[in-house]
Symmetry: D2
Subunit: 339 residues, 4 copies
């Protein structure tokens, strides 16, 4: 039988349940041993039981203290990530942490320092790196067969608005939404972003301007390897989750279009209809969530580097802060200016 790592999962909300289900059913090299959540309620407790998870706690310490547990999945709210990382590191547990580690650079660095001292592994949940499409783009670029990257492009549009109560506390589009794309461009380019310039606008009429936020943005960037990049974002594409990437290199281009709901084409005198893109991240990135958990377990079992490191957790936050500064000040911002 396959070797498995024992996992304690912290925070059993929407994303926690998603990881729990995957760990139980689809990740062969991991066993979900326990879950803990200070806000555990009866409904959740029943869900945990019905899923066949053996141990269900309110107190996270029960997980940190249990020697049978090899690693933790931190799926609680963002403001608890840095603290949980430090505690898990101290307890000698390997760590999978949902993105972002924090929105404060100082707290991120403290957490990364604790990980380094403890010598445990850390993987940050930038799940899109494990998507079959984006990975195909990155693998093609990384293979070198197209030469060096020249232009890196990411289109990333959510299907529809989040509730305005969420937007109010989201930290702004760059830290909340574009952060995935900032990770993606680093992943695709294989190089660090050195400067950015951002345009943004509240065009939807949904009220983003009330919170000094935007629903539409384009961000241009330079990479250390000389390549140029651009991301375009919309909070509400309406036709589905629009997630396309493209890298133009010395010798050619690799690009991916969206996964569609199906491959049907209906042709009549009135026109030709094809299927819409998959609706949102659950539909589009479900297999990627499984793959990232499997990769984490594999890194632990084989004692190799995780595929998304602490550095990968820190860098996109810096870029997001730079983009926000650029938008606010109406100028190009060098990453050196941040922190």
């Amino acid at each position: 039988m396959e070797k498995k790592i024992n996992i304690g999962l912290l925070g059993i909300g929407r994303i926690g349940k998603l990881h729990a289900r995957n760990l139980l059913c689809s990740v062969p090299n991991a066993k979900l041993y326990a879950v803990a959540d200070p806000y555990m309620n009866d409904e959740t407790r029943e869900w945990v039981k019905a899923m066949g998870i053996e141990n269900c706690y309110e107190d996270p310490e029960k997980i940190f203290k249990d020697d049978v547990i090899d690693a933790v999945f931190i799926c609680s709210s963002t403001n608890t990530h840095a603290e949980f990382i430090k505690r898990a590191a101290k307890a000698g547990k390997h760590i999978f942490c949902e993105k972002p580690i924090d929105t404060d650079l100082g707290k991120i660095k403290e957490a990364l320092e604790a990980v380094k001292e403890a010598g445990v592994k850390l993987q940050v949940g930038f799940v899109r790196r494990f998507d079959h499409n984006h990975k195909a783009v990155r693998d093609t670029v990384a293979s070198g067969k197209l030469g060096n990257p020249n232009i890196v492009k990411v289109t990333s549009r959510d299907p529809d608005h989040q509730p305005m109560e969420y937007i109010k506390v989201s930290g702004g589009i760059f830290l909340d939404m574009t952060i995935h794309d900032f990770d993606m461009v680093r992943y695709l380019a294989g190089s660090e972003v050195t400067e950015v310039v951002a345009y943004g606008a509240a065009l939807s009429g949904a009220g983003y301007d009330q919170y000094d936020d935007v629903d539409t943005a384009i961000i241009m960037m330079k990479f250390a390897n000389g390549a140029l990049g651009v991301i375009d974002n919309s909070r509400a594409a309406h036709y589905g989750y629009d997630q396309r990437t493209e890298v133009h290199c010395d010798k050619g281009c690799v690009q991916v279009s969206n996964d569609l709901n199906n491959q049907a084409m209906i042709s009549t005198a009135e026109g030709v209809e094809i299927a819409k893109p998959t609706w949102f991240f659950l539909e589009r990135y479900n297999d990627a969530f499984i793959a990232e958990a499997e990769a984490f377990a594999e890194a632990v079992l084989n004692d190799t580097d995780t595929p998304v490191t602490g550095t990968d957790g820190l860098a996109p936050v810096k870029i997001a802060l730079a983009a926000a500064k650029s938008l606010k000040e109406g100028r190009i911002v060098k990453l050196d200016e941040i922190d």
Copy 2:
């Protein structure tokens, strides 16, 4: 919590394991309560245990006799299907049976008679009906918005040859492989096949002619509703699993291309490359296997008709026998001639 039916699974080979894993992980309205296999060995027993299945037997009777079990999944070899259906029906269990029920029309009819007498539900495992692509074609046709079907087309090519030992006992291409497509054309046309004419050839050099079989076939057919149909088959497409369907109706056409491994396009001076179709049925139809199990459980829970009935299990076998007769005798064969 959701209501679940208790399932006993018979035959824990490749397809049995596939269903077992889906029932355990992905089918919310079913619980895999027990598995039974007369050829149970230690390795399989360990697999069953590791998957967390509570009851593991050699004797199928333990399943038929257990009152807690609502339904059986018959995943054993084809020659056992009819007998297991009769025993399950007698025991009052609802039945999901892998395709085909049998290759002998008399045995199929006996089994269906037993099901009818017992008043239990039967669903036959024509899984492709639950594929997102073919279902989109069928739903479009069935909606009537394109008018009546005129031409029904199915392309169905396996990625590579099965071992010749398998081919030797397979019953021939029409009963072994095209049977899925005979089900598909009935499903798409919404009408019964009334006559067929088949062309076939052994072109691959792999030796099908030794067993009086073919690796390449085209079969033309008429439907009771006046539509015409055609299926083309190859045992070895090499580029992957080629599974396309198309229906041309009074007012237009609906067609589906293949699912691809990813949506990447790589463009260079040498040419433009896209991804291959998914490799075989496990990759292409995994979600469909989940959907068919879920639909079966739902039919049992709601006491409604199953989506693939005993009639649907019988008809494709008759068409396959007619096609084989057509190929052998070099003439058009009416379905009336069979049985």
Copy 3:
């Protein structure tokens, strides 16, 4: 400057005007020297003049007798083709003749005999061979890089019904419409058809059955090289001109989809819309008409074989007659039975 052949064009109806315009504007190695049409009227005469064509006759003999003319384009009605071929051959003119040469095998053979005796070149107007899409399929097959052809498929659907007065005298779907597809399968397979079996139906309600004709057909065939083939036809696709071909070979498959009006994709919450196929043969095959004329002129100038010979003119008529016989008699018909 390029060398040009002098052309006399016979029959200045719709297809004659199409060739005339191409010869004048787009075929660099040909000069349209004269046109002749016994039914020449004032309007046509003015059109000829406005196009800058120097010589305009009623009497075809003026073309046959003029030594400056190297070749004729026969664009008159089908029943005049064979006779004009014989007269042109006698006059020592090379011949481009619109398809079909005739619908009577005896007349075709006489015409081909005259061509052979005179030692002039003959090209028959199977224009689809010069289409960029079908040619890509054929060139891939002919290159041998995919091995031998196993399955040849042609989908050929007209956008909408012809007037019933036309259908009445058309000779039936196989001689009028499918004849292009019978040429296409020979071209793609690189082999002769040895037997056919045809299904047909009048499903549109437009009245084809009044004339013992059908609007929907599927025809299956065998080739001398062992490959199998299938054509499906509809008189009224409604969504445009559906012209797709596909050849599956030992090592893989080459297929072409339709040219579309444009590459636009419009995505909204309601769905995703793409452009329809080009409407009919003028839109789809205009470049092919130019290419076939250029290829004819080149064969004349270089004294090489024409790309579509007299044999290519005869064979599809035989297949069409066999298909009609098959449909009428409800059986497989061998080509040997024809003629």
Copy 4:
């Protein structure tokens, strides 16, 4: 017969010949009456004769002075455009002028002033507006059915490097190449650009940096209507002419992919190959060149506005100058700063 305008064409180089051939063969409402070129040589004179053009001059004045001529096509080198426009306007001729009018804003304005005073029509040769793909994007946006534009994207990559001698005197990428895209974004957005910020790099190793030029660029812009835009450019895509546009609006997105050489797909065990995009502007925009000439003639005949006005000729030059300034100074540049 159709009414035609008489055209005198100035400058019979590559682009002049292209327009001449189209006017002769494919533009029904225009007659190419004369061509003039001070650098006329024997070869060109022969070409003109062979094409059947009646009048061939060295002196452009012969065209300006001939009362039978309604309009001129200015196809000479850019530095002569403004002067020829002024002379043609004075002579009362309508004017089609290849892009750009000039690279000097002062000279452009003088030319436009002369046009205005003379009351003649002027159309500038931004041919891509007449491409079936880009036009489909623009027409969808302009119809208003998707709401207001939010994001306008243009990808524009040439297939391969121009000779370095050409680059040296080209005026830089923004004035030479991106100028088409600056026109395109105005056309698609239906609004004026108000500010730009440009990134550029010489990444190909072909030596653009010697001339203070770049081969790779991304330019971000704002429009008066609130929309944001981005253009990405490469001088050498290698896989063909990459010309894609996309507009995301309030209710959805319209986008176009490239025209391909054909619709073939070749699938084998090694992979799946499709055709490359058409090679360059002659292949991609040939029909657009015809359509723009036809539209010009129509505007003259019907006394309506031309579809690409003097304002449309001026604006992209201003944007190009702003982009160049942005790249040089490393900052966002408002269009107000130019001129």
